[in-house]
């Protein structure tokens, strides 16, 4: 480790890095999402045209990535709250991170069919 750095690696630092990266990505998506939804004030056709691109296989993969980012940010955010407000939180921060990762893996496996199923049917036929 280089001298004079505050970065300490391991679960604590990398979960913090992932929390930042997912947070910034979600925020940028949110701008776009409010703009696309605003098209309902233009015309039903304008809105449906844009939403049609959201149903293509490529964007379906991006949606799966968005779900991945949101689920991690949400679960790790609850862990951060536990670290801050639960008296034993800091002691169990590593165990809580691996719990977060475990729940995240299960939920992401569960999201494969609902989020990517229609893309698979379009690509490979139903």
């Amino acid at each position: 480790m280089p001298a004079g750095t505050l970065y300490r690696g391991r679960e604590g630092m990398w979960s913090w890095v992932a929390h930042r990266v997912t947070g910034v990505l979600i925020f940028f998506f949110l701008f776009v999402h409010v703009l696309d939804t605003a098209l309902v004030r233009v015309s039903p056709e304008a809105y449906d045209d844009v939403v049609a691109t959201y149903k293509t296989p490529i964007v379906a993969c991006l949606e799966y990535g968005l779900v991945a980012a949101i689920l991690f940010h949400a679960l790790n955010g609850l862990r951060v709250i536990a670290v801050d407000f639960w008296s034993k939180g800091p002691r169990y921060q590593k165990q809580m991170l691996w719990t977060v990762v475990g729940i995240w893996v299960v939920l992401m496996a569960g999201a494969i069919y609902p989020v990517l199923g229609h893309a698979a049917r379009e690509l490979f036929g139903s």
Binding site: F31, A74, G77, L78
Partner: protein, 155 residues
């Protein structure tokens, strides 16, 4: 400094008399330049807001994802008619309005922290935050307007 005061590094020779451990000033340390009159608890309330809004957003956003991407055919059923059906109910209007405001403020405050951390030049930091605040106000107002003025019979 005697060896007894630094037991953590006594067994490794990373530092010696000529190369002492680097001194890192504590963040937000009060110095002579710190203004006394303008100090508020803004950062404390910001910190608290991130946690409180975060808990509410877990419910609102995960519920939103479940409805839009998982239930009833996933994203395939989303369209103008679907939006019109949901916003016919004040409950879902309120859900989306609260989610919009909390998510935008939560995200803006998060990005403010990121800008403060990485933009080192005063000017860069100032203008990045002005851009952030402008985009945030615009997006929150646009989204609010859309929810309140939605017209299912626009055609």
């Amino acid at each position: 400094m005697s060896a007894e005061t630094t037991p953590a590094v006594s067994d490794v020779s990373l530092y010696d008399v000529d190369n002492p451990a680097p001194l890192i000033e504590a963040p937000r340390k009060r110095t002579k330049k710190t203004p006394k009159s303008t100090r508020t608890n803004f950062e404390l309330y910001g910190w608290l807001f991130m946690r409180l809004s975060g808990i509410v957003l877990v419910v609102l956003v995960l519920g939103h994802l479940l409805i839009q991407l998982v239930l009833d055919g996933g994203v395939s059923k989303v369209g103008f008619a679907f939006v019109a059906g949901r916003w016919a109910s004040p409950f879902w209007q309120a859900w989306d309005l609260i989610m919009l405001w909390l998510a935008m403020l939560h995200g803006a405050n998060g990005l403010r922290t990121v800008i403060n951390d990485y933009a080192e030049r005063d000017n860069t930091r100032f203008w990045l935050k002005m851009l952030l605040y402008t985009a945030t106000v615009f997006t929150v107002l646009l989204g609010t307007l859309v929810i309140f003025t939605f017209d299912p019979n626009i055609r």
